[in-house]
């Protein structure tokens, strides 16, 4: 169980406010920190990692105190058992892929861990290459593998897939889910990509302007519960014409008729689609 209760003054490009979060995260859950840019999601993740210090607060992870400003406890990142994946990957350009992983290996740990991670993350082909020649998706795989070398309890992901194309993104979402389960991690993912949140997260914390708006399952937070059979999709409205509403779901465009139920919607709104009475044909 992770308990977080922090407050920190934020200095954002367009405004200044306070990040005030009081919440709990179950061990081994996959939690998404969801909200618009500048809401304070990344700041919260950095506070968890010890890279940013809040003015006041407590962070407890499985009974261990990482931060308690009243008692002047603030463990440095080195002493927090975390894996952190940065948005820009932060791979060390002077080291090969394998050296990046080896650097993360603590002295007491067996080097077998490296070989296992290289195999798990399918990095064999690039193990001796420098990160500069890798594609975005490959770099992110390496960054994820490197973050797992220390066998962290908590995996912190700062929009790790935001710079990737849709195809790579989908592949890496699967990888994330796989390693989350395989290594029994408590994972916190910063994302403002709704389908990703729906797909990965068992728990969602919605943050806006530094405040925790809602916390719960994706269905609870986004006010939508699947009821009955049928097809459920989540997407974003990309355009509204006189008679048509276009919705982007993953890489597919879905067009529906403008009607009474769509009049209050605007471009950019996140929506769910529900279709019943689906026809099924067996392919010969």
């Amino acid at each position: 169980m992770i308990r977080v209760n922090i407050s920190k003054k934020l200095h954002l490009p367009h405004s200044s406010g306070e990040l005030k979060i009081d919440t709990e995260v179950e061990s081994r859950s996959f939690t998404a920190l969801y909200g618009p840019s500048g809401a304070g999601k990344t700041s919260l993740l950095r506070i968890m990692a010890g890279l940013l210090k809040p003015e006041r607060g407590i962070i407890e992870v499985n009974g261990q105190t990482w931060l308690n400003t009243a008692k002047k406890i603030n463990l440095p990142p080195q002493q927090r058992n975390i894996g952190f994946v940065f948005q820009d990957y932060a791979l060390f350009p002077n080291m090969t892929v394998e050296e990046n992983l080896r650097y993360a290996l603590p002295a007491h740990q067996s080097p077998l861990r490296l070989q296992e991670l290289i195999a798990t993350m399918k990095l064999q082909a690039w193990a001796n290459l420098k990160p500069d020649v890798l594609s975005g998706g490959q770099k992110q795989r390496v960054a994820l593998a490197r973050a797992l070398v220390r066998e962290p309890e908590v995996l912190l992901l700062d929009e790790p897939l935001s710079a990737l194309d849709d195809h790579t993104r989908l592949q890496l979402q699967q990888e994330l889910l796989r390693v989350h389960q395989q290594y029994s991690l408590t994972t916190l993912l910063v994302s403002h990509h709704l389908p990703e949140v729906f797909k990965l997260a068992t728990h969602v914390i919605k943050i806006e302007e530094g405040q925790l708006l809602q916390s719960g399952t994706a269905a609870q937070v986004f006010g939508w519960q699947p009821q009955g059979d049928g097809l459920y999709l989540t997407g974003e409205i990309v355009s509204i014409d006189i008679d048509k509403v276009r919705i982007l779901v993953q890489q597919s465009l879905i067009i529906i008729k403008h009607s009474a139920q769509t009049t209050h919607l605007k471009v950019g709104d996140k929506v769910t689609l529900h279709a019943t009475d689906l026809l099924l044909h067996k392919l010969s």
């Binding site: 890279l51 080195q78 940065f86 060390f92 500069d132």
Partner: protein, 224 residues
């Protein structure tokens, strides 16, 4: 024509560059990450030799090193070190004079690195020292190389400061630039030509090496 001034110049430049590596890199590292209020003042002091006539710096150092001053007296009486008109004095003043040539490139190199590299190393459990030696320094090789070469080349070309602090003692403080001045004063243009030619070619080769090395580094980073 003697080769001793050239040899002395090389010795001075090598020792000065060595000292600058030891002193300049920690200062640059501190400046690159410091949020200290008086940081601009520290930066200005380090940069002063860039704009100050060498004779001005030489004059103040001469006063400070002279046995008549507190510092000079202490060094002379207690430690038995005489800095004025000595090779040690030349090294110390050269280090001060060339400090910005080491600190500036290294500081800029460190500041240009993404902060996430340092943070990633911290989250991997590595100390500040490990992060600095294994991640930060190896990734600013071009800046380090520029700092080393500029400090070396700048010390080769010193004149005013050397004249003020060291004078013109053969084998002790008579470096190549002083020797050129000396030969010209004695209308011995041939010897002056040789000294000047060697300094010119050496300086040019050093700078060419910097540009070739940095270009090679940039390319090699892109092709593994």
């Amino acid at each position: 024509m003697q080769y001793q001034p050239l040899w002395l110049t090389l010795q001075l430049a090598l020792i000065t560059t060595g000292c600058l590596l030891i002193i300049g890199i920690p200062i640059a590292a501190w400046l690159a990450q410091s949020k200290f209020k008086l940081k601009p003042a520290v930066e200005a002091i380090i940069s002063l030799p860039l704009v100050l006539p060498p004779s001005v710096l030489g004059f103040y150092l001469l006063l400070a090193f002279s046995p008549a001053s507190g510092l000079g007296e202490f060094l002379n009486e207690v430690l038995g070190i005489r800095l004025v008109f000595s090779f040690t004095g030349l090294v110390i003043s050269s280090v001060i004079y060339s400090l910005p040539f080491m600190v500036h490139p290294v500081q800029s190199g460190l500041e240009a690195l993404p902060g996430s590299l340092r943070e990633a190393s911290q989250t991997l459990g590595k100390s500040r020292w490990q992060t600095f030696t294994h991640v930060l320094l190896p990734n600013i090789k071009p800046a380090l190389f520029t700092g080393i070469v500029l400090s070396f080349a700048h010390t080769l070309g010193e004149f005013g400061l050397v004249l003020m602090i060291g004078g013109n003692i053969p084998g002790v403080t008579k470096v190549a630039s002083i020797a050129i001045y000396d030969e010209v004063e004695s209308l011995n243009f041939k010897a002056a030509h040789v000294y000047a030619g060697i300094l010119l070619v050496l300086s040019f080769c050093i700078l060419i090496a910097v540009y070739i090395f940095n270009r090679h580094l940039t390319r090699s980073r892109l092709t593994v």
